[in-house]
């Protein structure tokens, strides 16, 4: 029992590591992780400063960082299963004795960890280009919130990745959903600008709560970061609960329909 559990943990670690190795050789992801966050920071902080709202600087940096994290997870974790399908390794993973979701968790976690680079890039850009001071009110809560945000993003990525491979339209979905999710999560400008009826939609999105948790921890938004962290944990669990039947559906598609093969 314990050795089996250790074995599964080893699978998570191995999947984490091999995903990192694969990512390191992929220039597209390097661009997503390093370049895009810088551009978003320049755009976002730049427009606030131009509008004379310099006190929004840190808000914009965090938002751009969240965009970076979100983007990285969407493009990497959202496409894991699709990538395995195209590479012909999906059925190998299904045939292996390890449950397929364990592999996915390892790979998605790896991407989430790498997406931290995006956050680091936005802070660095803010500091170097705009000389924005990094003035975080509650650093400990900030770090915990960041980690929980990554957990929620990972779980969200698992849902999206399963959804994409089941609908066979990952590319189009990513293009269409990417910007609305930035906006609905308040990553570009505060949510208060949006009409009220959009709030329930925003409340289902991991990036919006992550952004809020980081904002409160940084002292930019009034509120208790720990409460929002609790919400992030709950949200992650909900995502995982949604992901479970989707994983089962994928396995079903492979084994029952034989329709996830590329010839």
């Amino acid at each position: 029992m314990i050795s089996h559990l250790l074995g599964l943990l080893r699978v998570v670690a191995a999947s984490f590591k091999m995903q990192a190795k694969e990512r390191a050789t992929n220039q597209f992801f390097i661009g997503t992780l390093l370049i895009t966050p810088i551009i978003f920071t320049l755009l976002s902080v730049g427009s606030y400063i131009y509008a004379g709202k310099t006190n929004f600087g840190l808000y914009a940096v965090i938002g751009a960082g969240m965009i970076g994290i979100w983007n990285a997870n969407l493009w990497t974790s959202g496409r894991i299963i699709e990538g395995e399908r195209r590479g012909g390794t999906l059925s190998m993973l299904i045939a292996a004795p390890t449950p397929f979701p364990v592999v996915l968790v390892g790979k998605s976690l790896s991407n989430a960890a790498a997406s931290l680079i995006s956050m680091a890039m936005t802070f660095a850009t803010g500091l170097i280009v705009f000389r924005l001071p990094v003035d975080i009110a509650n650093p400990f809560a900030f770090i915990v919130s960041l980690l929980l945000t990554l957990a929620a993003m990972t779980s969200f990525g698992l849902v999206l990745g399963s959804f994409f491979v089941l609908t066979r339209n990952a590319g189009a979905f990513i293009e269409v959903t990417n910007y609305p999710i930035f906006i609905l999560s308040g990553l570009m400008f505060p949510l208060t600008i949006l009409p009220l009826w959009l709030r329930p939609l925003s409340a289902t999105l991991a990036p919006m709560w992550g952004n809020l948790a980081l904002g409160t921890a940084a002292g930019l938004v009034a509120g208790n970061p720990w409460l929002i962290d609790l919400y992030l944990i709950g949200l992650s669990l909900v995502y995982l609960m949604i992901a479970r039947p989707l994983f089962a559906k994928i396995e079903h598609r492979v084994r029952q329909d034989g329709s996830l093969e590329v010839f």
């Binding site: 074995g7 699978v11 670690a13 091999m18 050789t25 590479g87 012909g88 993973l93 390890t98 084994r255």
Partner: protein
């Protein structure tokens, strides 16, 4: 206990075509297939493209569910007992897919060692052994994308052996390999058989099955046409002689005239670049060569030879016009 037991196995695929007016089509990939393979046997499944070889291999390796019938591997049901069965079998599909191209050969094997829950102290010893077995020790640290087809295929085999499986499924392992690489791979397969593994091999190369397998099942359109030893298969055509005629253009009329000749049992046409090679199977065929050539009047005949029948001729005889050129 038999290593593999298959009873009345069937598999259909439902495919939909068209976006607006969607029409469903059912393809029968396997139709009432039954066979058994004994422990330690090297069993061959021989058939043309689309015969159902991959479908059967996928079902036996638990990746696909049958539509009807049942199959057991090592006494375990391939549908229900996947948890116990998966750690004990290995599978290798032909072709270049199914590997992580951006990773090194060693990383690929190491990853599957972890996926198969092979204890680290075991895999530390086994991985170098497997790399040695398939002759990739010197190239193990290179990325797979730089490998030749033959190297990828050998890496596949090493990967499929990482859990030291009792039964190994090899689906057209030598497909697309040059003759030398294919021969090297066959040596590896023969060695594995000597080491006591039960091997289920599919192929559409007659020669391969003849050289490796103890028993062979010929499948066509999802059905088993014949099952016996390669020698018995050859016996099918023992009394035949084969007349090979190379020509430039044979008309359909000439072909039907030829097929109607009372002595002719089968005619198979190989299209090779600019020329067509007719393989005419006929008992005592040598004596009838002049008659055959007369029937083929106007076909620009280049060369005529007579030869003893091979396993390939048995295959042609069994499958008739479904046999494809190899």
């Amino acid at each position: 206990m038999s290593a593999i037991v298959i009873e009345n196995l069937g598999r259909n695929f439902v495919t939909t075509t068209g976006t607006i007016r969607r029409t469903q089509k059912t393809v029968t990939a396997l139709d009432n297939v039954s066979l058994t393979v004994e422990p330690g046997e090297l069993f061959g499944l021989l058939g043309p493209n689309g015969a159902g070889k991959t479908t059967l291999t996928r079902i036996l390796s638990t990746v696909l569910l049958p539509t009807s019938g049942r199959a057991e591997v090592l006494g375990l049901d391939v549908v229900r007992d996947t948890k116990q069965l998966r750690p004990r079998i290995g599978m290798v599909y032909g072709g270049e897919r199914g590997l992580y191209w951006r990773l090194s050969g060693r990383d690929n094997i190491q990853y599957f060692a972890d996926l198969y829950l092979v204890p680290p102290e075991v895999s530390r010893k086994r991985i170098p052994e497997l790399l040695e077995l398939v002759g990739l020790t010197d190239r193990a640290e290179e990325r797979v994308e730089g490998y030749s087809r033959g190297m990828k295929q050998r890496l596949h085999i090493a990967r499929g052996l990482i859990n030291d499986p009792d039964v190994l499924f090899l689906d057209e392992p030598t497909i697309g390999l040059d003759p030398i690489a294919a021969r090297e791979l066959r040596t590896v397969i023969a060695d594995l058989h000597k080491a006591g593994k039960t091997i289920f091999l599919t192929s559409h190369y007659m020669y391969e099955v003849d050289a490796l397998c103890q028993r062979v099942a010929v499948v066509n359109k999802g059905q088993i046409v014949m099952m016996d030893t390669p020698a018995a298969l050859k016996q099918l055509v023992a009394n035949l002689e084969v007349v090979e005629v190379e020509c430039l253009s044979v008309s359909p009329e000439a072909m039907s005239r030829l097929r109607a000749h009372p002595r002719v049992e089968a005619v198979h046409v190989d299209n090779r670049d600019q020329i067509q090679v007719l393989q005419i199977q006929a008992p005592g065929g040598v004596g009838y060569v002049p008659e055959f050539l007369q029937l083929l009047d106007g076909a620009s005949i280049q060369k005529v030879v007579t030869r003893q029948p091979t396993l390939e001729d048995a295959y042609v005889k069994l499958l008739g016009k479904d046999a494809i050129s190899v």
